[in-house]
Structure formats: structure tokens, C-alpha cells
Symmetry: D2
Subunit: 327 residues, 4 copies
């Protein structure tokens, strides 16, 4: 098997993905997309930045939108189990000669900034301001009724190496795509919190953020969002789907925000808490890998992604390609 | 407006579409598709033919599958309000110099066979054997849980003339697509029973049967069917969808049976019983006409259809074309 | 069979139920219920009255809320096929010595007011102001996403006689409940437009309006409404359900407006356009008649209803009673 | 707050609930219920016992049905993170003077049997035979489409003490019901795997097993099961629901198996992996605690439960009672 055995006792305990900050070029336009259309809830906003949470989250933010001159992704943030994990994390990165820094982040406790070997900005914290539950304030639900952030997916120029890196951090592979010819991993889905993934890695020019995903109650909420977007000026922002993924078995939709940042709406994958869960292998040539129902993804889905601010991506050395739609 | 005013007091009273007979080349394969996969109920079968009904239907059949050497569509059948309508129908066709004949059809009363001006075989009857209700025998529901036949859609070489013909029969236009340049109707949706259509006409090499549609309870049943087909050897039979039609506002999926006969799974259009319902016009270049969410239909969807047995189709004189996907 | 044969060629052609006017004691409170909570769309409002339509309706109103000193139901209104049907209707009522009058109703053409033999106020019209479609303006959908008015249900002191009356008007029985002992009909469901009913009659102190029903897309919309009502101060307005009716096979919820007028939210009954559709008989003692899943309806559901303004109801002579919940 | 602070570093690591064994008096009848009706998959069966798994589970069994002379519940079983946790668990129980034993269980590795202070039989294991995934074999899905076992709920004669016991084992309280007068906990929901609960404790004659719950994809699957049960002889086995819980916010249905063992069908609670998740308090008198929509639970739901084989339950000392339906 080309994916490493899980590290069951990692040096520090990452609990789950937490949030991402996106640089956006028109904050008002982004607000219409994320708040009015998707239905995320504002927890703070001023002229420069909007903090959002989803309906069942009690942490202060799962996405931060910041007005900037150019669209870009900032750090991918993760919540660790307890404060001491932050020091253990700092040591872990230092042992790998990877830069770290302690940074101040509003509504968060001690926060460790770090980078992976390809320059991807990562942040870790243990404590964030907790808010009162709103999951039973049903008058607030609208748009796609987003319940929580679910995962990140990043382009990687060396997925095998990236899987090894995240695996050492305790992320466990649930499913992966192998290029039969080269015996290399083309993409992998890795989790901490008990779903199919907190982080996925896809072969390509990277590091770049491929998408951020939000969990919704049922496929019908995704259909509702499509109807809403199609009749409120967002029909061009619908990129791929709806469909059932082969990998993860989730029901999905990919959309693009006004700056092109890709958002996945996602539901109904499966529980993965067993440490002896066997990863599921898919062949890169399997047409049902991307979409169980057979439809290929469009070129844009394979080629476009958000740059991490200040990070220059590199070409992948793996040139194998999946089936791509002719448009 | 390029569509004619409705004929509110037609010469005879067509109640609704009723059923279609399809010639199939491998009856066992067709049974696996229509019975095991779609979930239609067998009301009669022998070595040569299978009669099926959907879950809420009390008439004996909505589709007849007949073993033949070549795949073909036979007559499109309609139920009229009462027996005397059959004689009025016969007179109406004769007044237009269109051939008619009284034919024997098992489980049906008097049945009138006729043709439209392009040779499309049509049949009309008032009485069919009635069966006990099964709509509350929930153990029988499976597959896509088909509730009833909903409509036919045919390619027509002259949609304007075909609309005039069906309009004279009392079919009322609910929505239509116009080619702005030629001011001709490219497609039209016409009803008798109070939904968006019993019969649709689409510009193209015709007459050919484009598809037969079945009504299901909710979009989730269509997702269930996709999952089932994708994992039971039918992934190649999924042609288009799922999606929301612009026209009709229905949620849809197009699939192909083992002989290539196209079936639409359809739900959630709207009630059209008002005789003063204003038809909705769509422009042929409107990309949301086919699919509200913007995805174009594939070439096969525009080009392929079932021949009516023994009927040679003609090219359409209207060459305007909608947006077609590049595959 | 204790229900009469359908009158297939009635003296005048009622197309469908159309709307009801309700006297309400706090128009602002009623607006919060019908508009903010249910999601009906305002087509006109002033200090005295609010006109509403549902999402797929093109007629100007399906419900009228009028500020009054006491809650009451006004006329039940029906749309006829064409203007001449109004004169035929007037003659039909006069032939039965039932009072009629031509009345002015805003946004309606000629309108005939009449009464049934028990004093129930009825109105008939052929033309109502038509509005532009909004069924694809998905940003307007909220609450329970009501698509159209579906039916009325009235208490009747003599259901057998009432069925005969409505049957003469061309309403056809689809299902009915019989009291085995007396061989009398305890309740009946009768339609014109091709669903299970435009009008239902239930044994009891009458005439009174039992409820007005709205059609919604799927059972999930009803669950959404329950969640919304339960968390916005309306938990006490939830009376019965959700559940599956035995009769009609529809998924339902009964709620009460701020004045106690009962509204049913309803979906997924079946198509009944066939004139030879055999009515389904239920026994009054069948516990699955009311709710297929077995739960009995509460006392209030059997006992409470809206008075028609100025009409004194009479006790029913049929004292047989169904299973009622002990609360 | 009357619930204890979570133990973030418990002596041993319970991963999740795993399975329960039920003694049943007619194995064939139980098979019809669990396999034919609910849709669980048989992984082993002989004349004496049936092992079942749900659709997304890869472990060999989540429920074991054993033919016995009298209905009873056997041990509640839990999967621990790794083999060494079993020894740590044994030590933990011994330190509390609670009986333990190493037992042989087919398809399981080392298995520790233990009891809680009230005699509830518990079992722990780290390894179970793993089976190939079937979650994408959609032809196998039927009934309620059960995806996985979700939780146990037990009557307890001393919920405060039981919460302390499970809390020490690392189970974290997500929601609880307090009796305002006595300041005692009336019920509590406690988790290990990241949902609202693996184990709930309810005040009453105990220990007894109140119910075992299975997770399903959407509320519509629960409606499908109700329709199926209502028309296949199981209408009397429907006990409570469908509804939305106030506590947990889950959509639910309670049914009884042929021996009266209670099964909950459950979906759409929320993610609870954060160790700093604040428990939600409910007052015992809150009518929306049980069902957000206000309907009280029936007496049977509060009074009836499965005895653990050979264990005599005791009365609770807390006599406070919630709102109970008058039937």
C-alpha cells in the first residue's frame, strides 16, 4: 500500500480544522455571497474584515474575509486539543527546520503560525471565543443552511511527501487515488475529527488552496442553493455538480466566490473514528472516482485554485492526469 | 405571440397521455432496467411482452415492452374522457385526411389508431382494465419509486405546424422556446391533464420519440436512482442531469434504457389547470432554458431519439440550434 | 356503494377551488403568521386587508385576511372554466331555490355569490387579475415554501346530503369514510382539478370551515416549518402532525393561525383525472384512516372549526365517532 | 453547573460504542424486523444467533440477536482505541472494586467484560473482524437505510452518580436535564466519538436499556420507514415520533422490536469534538426538551425498557417527572 501506516500517537493532538482567512477584493460582494447567499452568520464585521460562523459552531469564526488588493488565501487554521499541544507543535515544526512564530489573533488564545515544507501557511490554537448556540434558532437558517466547516483541499506538487508530512502530524488517510503506472499517490484524503477528511491533497501546481468545504444537512439544501444562485446572478459561479463523489461517498457542489475562491458544499460522508479503518484505494483512471455517477469534472476544477499570499507554487513532478471534461 | 390561442372546446376530450409501447431487443435486459432498477410494477408478462404500471396508477399499463428484432417506438397512447370521444376523434382525424383504424388492444376497450401529419402513430381509448390501488403497499416501492407516467417528448421537423395540430386537439401550450431570428417556435410544452405537459415537441429530425417521462415523489428519489444505477452496471446509461429545468421548473434526470430509449425522471413542475394560463416564452439562446443552473445538455440529448416503427423521419427546416455541450 | 356516481357533464364547469377570505382580529399578527412564517406573498395590503398568493400561483389571491372584530370565515371561492359558466351556475342555484347575488370583488371579474343548503357562503368567478410568475424567483421562497392552495375541508351536519349536493356540481368523490353501522358517509373527499380533493366534508356541527390547505414541495418543507414555528413563538399553534394520512396518502401538518383558523400543510397526494377512478372506502373504525402510522388526532381537531360569518351551525344527526386521542 | 468537568485524559481510551446483544424469543420474527424492515445487513447467522452490521460499518457487527427463552439485553459493548487500553480498563474497574473478566467473543480480539456499580454489563474490545466496505453497494440499501449504530440510552436509578462514573471513563456531557427543585440531573447525554452521545442516562427504574439508536441519512428515510412499517403489520410497533428532539436537535423515531426492545432511528445531531464544548442545560419542565415541536412522549416511553439479563433494577430516588402524554 503506497500510503503510510497511521501515526496513532502523534507528537501533538490536532483536534480538527478550524478556519481559513481569505483575502477578497470587494468585501461587500463577498458578504452578499457568504452571508446573503450561503447563509453563514456574521460574528464580527467592520470596514476591513468579516468574521463568520456556521449554524452549529460555537467557536467565533470558521471563515474570515479580509479586504485586500488581490485575492489570496491566508493561513489554514487548526484547533488543537489543549494548550500544551501548541508547545509540542512548535517543537515538532522546529525539529523539521520549519519556521514558526507566535502570533496574535483576535478572539483566539495563543496561536502558533508555521509552514509546511512547501510554504503552506498553517496556524494552530487551542482556545477561541465561544458563542452561545444558535443551532435551534431556526429563523436564522437560510441559503444552504451551512452547519459547520468540514475540510480543506490543497493542490500539492508532491502528494506522496505531503501525505507523509500530514501523516506524521497524526492525520489518517481514509481514501486515496493512485497512479498505477508510477505507483505514486495522486490525491489523498486525511482526517483528525472522524469524517473522511480535514485535509485533502491533490496533485498539481502547489501549494494552492483548492477549496474549503462546508457541511449541510441534506442534498436538498444543495438543490435549494443551486436554485437560489441560478436566479440571483450567481449562475456563472456554479462550477461543478451537484453529484455524488466516488471518493468519500459525499453529495457535493462546487461554487466559486466573487474572487474565484472555491467553496464546496458537502454532506453525507461517513464516520472514520476507528484507528484501524482501512484506507480505500481508487485508480486514477477510474471514471467513478470523482463522481460516482460518471460525469467528469471541468478543466477549471483541475487547474484553478487560490494562491497562498506570498507563496510561489511549484509544478508537480507527477504528470499523470485523470479524466477531465472537454470544457 | 407565436403560439396559438388555446382551443377551449376541442372536438374531442383527451384526458391525459396514457402509455407507450417500446420495441426492445432483449426483453430480460429491459426487465432488469424497468422493473428491477426503475421500480415499475409488472401487471402482465410472457415471453414476448411485459406490461408495467407505476405505483399510483390504477390503469393496467403505462408502458409496454415488446421483444422485437430492432428497437423502435410504437404508438403514443392517450386516454379520452368517455367512449363517445373516440368517435369524435375518428371524425376529427378523417376531416384532416389522416388515416385511422379501430384496433384491438388487450386490457383496453375500443381503441382508435391514427397518425399525425408526419406519420407519428397515435392511439386513443376511453376504458382500460382497472387494478386495485397499490400506492399504500409501501413494501413494493423500490428503485426511483415511479408514481405515474407524466409526458412524452417528440422530435418534430416542423414544431410550428405540430403545435398547431396538437393545439387543435385541445392541448394547451404552457411554455415554449422561440428562435428570435426566425420568429419560429423551436420547442413547445403542451398539456391536457393540468401539469406542464402531456406532450412536448422539440425541433429536429422527426418524428422520433425523444423521451417518455415518469413522475417521482422528490429529488431525493432521483439521487437514489443515480446511486443505484452507478453501482449496478448502468453508469453508462446516465445521460444528463440531475438538474432543474428552466422550462417547467421541474427537477430532472435523463437516462437511456438498454436499447437507447430515453427515459426522463421528473418531479415538481406546477399546476396548469387555468385555461387563461399565460404561456411562458424562452429564447433559444437562453442558457438557463435547458437547465436553470446553467449546464448545457450533451450532444446525444439533442441528436438521438427512438424511431417510430416503420416511420421515416424528415430533417427540420429550422436550423437554429441551442447551446450544446462540447461532448 | 354509498357515494353517488360522478356527474360527468355537470351544468357548469368548476375548474378548481380558488381562495378564501378570513376575518382576523389582529391583522399584524396574522401577517406575521401567513407572510413571515408560512411564506405566502403579499399582492396587496392596506390597513384593513391583506391579499396573498402562493409561489406558483398567477392569480392575484388565494387567501384574503380582513381585520374584523371577531374571527370568522367568509365565502369559499371557486374559479369556473369560462364566463358563461357563471350564468349556468346562477341558474343551477336558482333551480334549487338557493340564494344568489352578483357581487363586486376587487381583482376579479363577474362574481356570483351563492349559498349551499346549509348556508355555507360560496362564490364563483371566471377571471381574476393575473400576475407575473414568481415560481423561479427563489430568493422569495421562505417559511414552508407554499406553492398553491390545495383544498377546503368543512364540517357538515349531513355529509350524505352535502356529498349529493357537491356531486351534482360535478365534484367527484375520490375517498370516503363510512360508518358501518348506519351505512352513512362520515366524511368525503371530492375534487375538480385532478387531485384528491378541492373540497372535503367531515361529519360534525356545521357548516363550519375545518381547514384550508396549502401544497408544499416535499415533507422536508413541513419539517422546516415545524422547526421554525417551534422556535419563534408558535409551538402552541402546532395542532397535529406531521404524519401520513391514510386517506389521500398525503403528508400533512395541521397548524392554527393566531385566531384559531386551521391551516393544513399538505403534499404528495395522487393524480385523479380519470373519470372512472374508483373511490376508496375507509371504515370509520380504521385507526390508519386518519394517520397511516396509527396516531389518533386530538380532540380539538374533531371539535373546533371556523364559523362562517353570520351562519349558525347545526348539530349533525350522525353521532358515530372515530378514534380520538385522549387529549 | 451540576455536571462534572470533563476528564480530558481518562485512564483508558474508549473510542465509541460498538454493539449490543439482545436476547429475542423468536429469531425469525426478529430477522424480519431488523433485516427485512430496518435494512440491517446479515454478516453471520445460524439457528441460534444473527450478527448484523449497518451500511457504512466495516466492523463485523453492531447488533447481535440471540434466540432465548425470555427477552433481555446483554452487554453494551465499546471499542477502545488500542489493545493496551483493555488492560488499563481492567485496572480502572478493579480499582473501583467492580468485577471484570476476559471473555471470548467471536470475530473479536481480547474482550474485557465488566459491570458498572449498578450491575450494567459492559464489554470492551480493541479489534473486531473487519469486512469489505458496502456503503457504495446501493442495491443493498433498503428499509430505513441504517448507516451506523449511534448510541445507547439506559434508565438509571441515580443519574448523578452514573454521570460521575461515565465522566471518569472520559465520556463528556453534551446536554443534560436538571430538576430545578432538587438540583439533580434527571438525564444526561455523554459522548466519546464526537456526536451528541454514545451513552445517555435517564432517571428511572434501572439499570435497564431504554433504547439503541441507529443513524440514517435524512428525515425522509424515517418517513419511508414509517410508511413501510404502517403497511407491513408493524403499525403497533411505532411508539413515538417522528419529531425533532429539543435535546440533541436530532430528528427521531422510536419503534419497538417484536420483543419490545426499543430502537431509535436518529439523524442530524451535531459535531461535539471540541473538548471545551459547553454542555447545554434543559429544565425538566421544559415541554420542548423532549420534542422541540411540543408533543409529549407517551407513558410507555418513560416506563418501559429492556432488562439486562440477570440484573435486578432498583427504583430511582429522584421522583421528579417530566411532562408525559395522557396515554
Amino acid at each position: 500500500m503506497p500510503v503510510p501506516a497511521p501515526v496513532l500517537h502523534p507528537d501533538f493532538n490536532v483536534l480538527r480544522l478550524s478556519h481559513v482567512e481569505l483575502g477578497v477584493t470587494d468585501l461587500a460582494a463577498s458578504r452578499r455571497f457568504y452571508v446573503d447567499t450561503l447563509g453563514l452568520q456574521v460574528t464580527h464585521e467592520d470596514d476591513a474584515v468579516i468574521y463568520l460562523r456556521a449554524m452549529e459552531e460555537r467557536g467565533h469564526h470558521c471563515i474570515i474575509l479580509r479586504q485586500e488588493d488581490a485575492a489570496a488565501a491566508h493561513a489554514l487554521s487548526f484547533k488543537v486539543f489543549e494548550d500544551a499541544d501548541l508547545d509540542r507543535a512548535a517543537a515538532w515544526f522546529k525539529a523539521r527546520d520549519l519556521a514558526t512564530a507566535w502570533v496574535d489573533r483576535p478572539w483566539q488564545g495563543r496561536t502558533l503560525a508555521a509552514v509546511d515544507p512547501w510554504g503552506t501557511p498553517l496556524e494552530f490554537y487551542a482556545k477561541m471565543a465561544r458563542l452561545a448556540p444558535i443551532h435551534q434558532q431556526y429563523r436564522l437558517y437560510h441559503g444552504v443552511k451551512p452547519l459547520r466547516i468540514d475540510h480543506f483541499n490543497c493542490f500539492s506538487p508532491d502528494v506522496d511527501a505531503a501525505v507523509a508530512f500530514w501523516n506524521d502530524m497524526g492525520f489518517r488517510v481514509t481514501e486515496y487515488t493512485e497512479d498505477e503506472a508510477s505507483k505514486r499517490v495522486w490525491a489523498a484524503w486525511m482526517h483528525r475529527k472522524g469524517g473522511v477528511h480535514d485535509m485533502a491533497l491533490t496533485n498539481g501546481l502547489g501549494p494552492r488552496l483548492h477549496h474549503t468545504a462546508f457541511w449541510v444537512p441534506t442534498p436538498l439544501n444543495i438543490i435549494d442553493l443551486l436554485d437560489l444562485m441560478a436566479t440571483t446572478g450567481y449562475v456563472g459561479n456554479i462550477e461543478r455538480g451537484p453529484g455524488r463523489h466516488g471518493i468519500s461517498n459525499a453529495f457535493f457542489l462546487y461554487i466559486r466566490d466573487p474572487d474565484g475562491h472555491r467553496i464546496e458544499i458537502y454532506c453525507s460522508d461517513y464516520q472514520t473514528v476507528d484507528p484501524d479503518l482501512e484506507p480505500i484505494r481508487w485508480d486514477l483512471t477510474d471514471t467513478q472516482r470523482q463522481t460516482l455517477w460518471g460525469a467528469p469534472a471541468p478543466k477549471s476544477w483541475f487547474e484553478e485554485g487560490s494562491l497562498f499570499k506570498g507563496v510561489t507554487p511549484r509544478q508537480s513532478t507527477l504528470t499523470a492526469a485523470p479524466i477531465i471534461a472537454p470544457y
